[in-house]
């Protein structure tokens, strides 16, 4: 016996009129978690987080306990020391896996909707191009933050819990801000660039290949110019190195690759973000308002 009889009932519920972008985020997340590769990539990112967690536990618990036989090892091990550079290197190393996750998740996000003629269906409903674009962008940003800033901030909190003192607190109060700031500097340009390619190109493979090619070409160009003209500042042409330069400033790191001010690097990143955002908005808006 069927659960539902063959009827077409009137809908008498009261629809909600706000935050449609939340629905877009929810749907994208639901779709992404269905893919095994996505789960595997997130697991890889989680492995790095677990390693950092072990590092914090080792430094805060074992290295501080004089009765522990491992204390001598961890207390003298520079790599195990917890400081701002720990979190900078955590985020820097996490960038590669983050890039792969965002590329995998975002490359088909808009182009597949175009390819499958879903834009007409979505925009015939009370969804605007702004809701749609905001939802897609925020999906990737939240996804990125969940494997960078969120674990980073939790690890800082854990460090303070395991080593509770005013010294720890005064040394680390600004770390969460740097972590969030640097995470956003990494995530936002990648997100916008991936989605811009996705909105411009006909398939997710093209979008992914284009992004990788652009990144390789841009990095090679930076290093090539720096080598040929014997001026390290040209390294700033490389987008990953520009992002790193901003991160170094945010974490007060002194292993500076080139002396060009971080303002220029930030401006470069901002311009790329702005161009990508304009491409996304223009393409999506044209799907809703063709003429």
């Amino acid at each position: 016996m069927p659960i539902y009889t063959k009827t077409y009932r009137r809908y008498d519920g009261q629809p909600r009129h706000h935050f449609r972008w939340l629905v877009v985020i929810e749907q994208e997340m639901k779709t992404l978690v269905k893919f095994r590769i996505f789960k595997l990539l997130v697991l890889l990112a989680a492995l790095h987080i677990i390693l950092r967690l072990l590092q914090i536990v080792a430094y805060d618990v074992l290295a501080q306990d004089p009765n522990n036989p491992l204390q001598v090892i961890f207390a003298n091990l520079d790599i195990a020391r917890i400081g701002p550079d720990t979190f900078f290197s955590f985020l820097y190393l996490q960038t590669s896996i983050l890039f792969i996750i965002l590329l995998y998740s975002g490359a088909g996000m808009i182009c597949n909707d175009f390819k499958n003629n879903l834009m007409e269906v979505y925009f015939s409903k009370p969804l605007t191009w702004a809701d749609y674009s905001f939802g897609k962008i925020l999906t990737l940003v939240l996804l990125g933050l969940s494997i960078t800033a969120l674990p980073g901030v939790i690890l800082v909190g854990l460090h303070n819990l395991l080593l509770p003192s005013m010294d720890t607190l005064s040394a680390s109060w600004w770390w969460p801000f740097s972590i969030i700031g640097y995470s956003l500097v990494i995530i936002i340009p990648i997100t916008l660039a991936v989605l811009a390619c996705s909105s411009l190109l006909p398939s997710q493979n093209y979008a992914a290949i284009t992004i990788i090619m652009a990144l390789v070409a841009n990095s090679s160009l930076g290093v090539l110019f720096a080598g040929m003209l014997r001026q390290r500042d040209y390294m700033a042409i490389s987008f990953p190195l520009s992002i790193r330069r901003v991160g170094e400033t945010l974490f007060g790191d002194h292993r500076i690759l080139f002396s060009l001010s971080w303002y220029w690097c930030f401006l470069y990143i901002s311009v790329v973000c702005l161009i990508s955002l304009l491409i996304i908005l223009r393409k999506v808006r044209r799907a809703e308002i063709a003429s």
Binding site: T7, N116, E120, S124, P126
Partner: protein
């Protein structure tokens, strides 16, 4: 029984509570186009169109490139009018497009699929876009998929669906939120004859509701005739005819269909001798006779009596919608 009737002056609606259902009836035009011109790169796709649709089922007819889809897309707000004014449900387009789209359902012409999700998940998502709660959206998705006869395949990913199944999903997403205006662009594309009839019956069932207006754009005239009471014919971006199908296919008094008891040949010969044209129709024992004047029926009966036969079937012939359409287009 009518339980209560209320008239809301502000939005010009009449709420009739009848048989336990609150029918929200519109007293204003549902779709109102005043001198609307829509251009693609300065080439007008709609040229000074005036349309006033009050309700019921309306067919949009026209040759390829006539402007049917542009008209539908202008109603949806995808195309903005270069000139003129568009009002849907009395609301100005495009200023209140989101509000209008709340009451609209649209089934596009092209194939729509969300390959990696099931039909239930896709419809549930569509419902959530309308602001329907998660539980209601899921329930509604099942109900509507059941209504369009999608069966258990609703749980499969949409990439495995046939064209017919995708067509049903398209209809389901359009009616999910109980729209007051349903726009169907070629609803029977790619369907087998049984599926086509099934979809048309569903559309007719929806259109039979008193508060639902259905606009069907199709180049298949029998489909339009099956579902609609009114037609709007468009050619080269202009409305060339608007009226009821009944009017268009009204009986023609000078033509009649005749079937006889016995062999028809002596009768046909006699009729031709009397100056009438006579053509054999399908089924083969039926003849179409053109009478010399509107009251020429008596002449046929007299000839039949003289030939010693009886007329067993006699009815004024109607234009088919196809003939009417071709006539209108030829005039233009």
């Amino acid at each position: 029984m009518f339980e209560h009737v209320t008239f809301a002056h502000a939005n010009r609606t009449l709420n009739v509570f009848y048989n336990g259902i609150d029918w929200n009836l519109w007293l204003t035009s549902i779709i109102e186009f005043s001198e609307v011109t829509v251009c693609y790169n300065d080439i007008p796709a709609l040229d000074g169109v005036n349309v006033d649709i009050g309700g019921g089922a309306i067919g949009l007819l026209g040759p390829n490139g006539a402007g049917k889809s542009t008209l539908i897309k202008t109603i949806l707000g995808f195309n903005r009018a270069n000139k003129g004014r568009v009002k849907i449900f009395g609301l100005e387009m495009p200023a209140r497009s989101v509000e209008i789209r709340h009451r609209l359902g649209y089934m596009p012409e092209c194939e729509v699929s969300s390959p990696k999700v099931s039909a239930v998940a896709f419809l549930s998502y569509c419902g959530r876009i309308f602001g329907i709660s998660r539980v209601d959206a899921l329930e509604r998705a099942h109900e509507v998929l059941n209504y369009v006869n999608l069966g258990d395949s609703r749980y499969r990913n949409m990439e495995t669906y046939s064209t017919g199944m995708l067509q049903r999903v398209k209809l389901a997403q359009a009616i999910l939120h109980d729209p007051k205006l349903l726009l169907l662009d070629e609803p029977t594309n790619g369907l087998d004859p049984d599926g086509r009839l099934e979809i048309l019956d569903l559309v007719r069932d929806i259109a039979a509701r008193p508060d639902v207006t259905v606009v069907v754009s199709s180049h298949l005239l029998p489909d339009v005739q099956h579902v609609c009471e009114q037609v709007i014919m468009i050619d080269k971006g202009k409305v060339v005819h608007a009226g009821s199908i009944e009017e268009l296919t009204a009986p023609r008094l000078e033509y009649c269909e005749v079937r006889l008891r016995d062999s028809a040949q002596p009768f046909v010969d006699a009729v031709r001798e009397a100056g009438c044209e006579c053509v054999r129709l399908h089924p083969l024992n039926t003849w179409l006779v053109r009478l010399p004047h509107e009251n020429g029926a008596q002449l046929l009966f007299r000839i039949a009596r003289d030939c010693g036969t009886q007329i067993r079937h006699f009815q004024p012939s109607r234009h088919s919608l196809e003939e009417a359409f071709l006539q209108v287009m030829e005039k233009e």
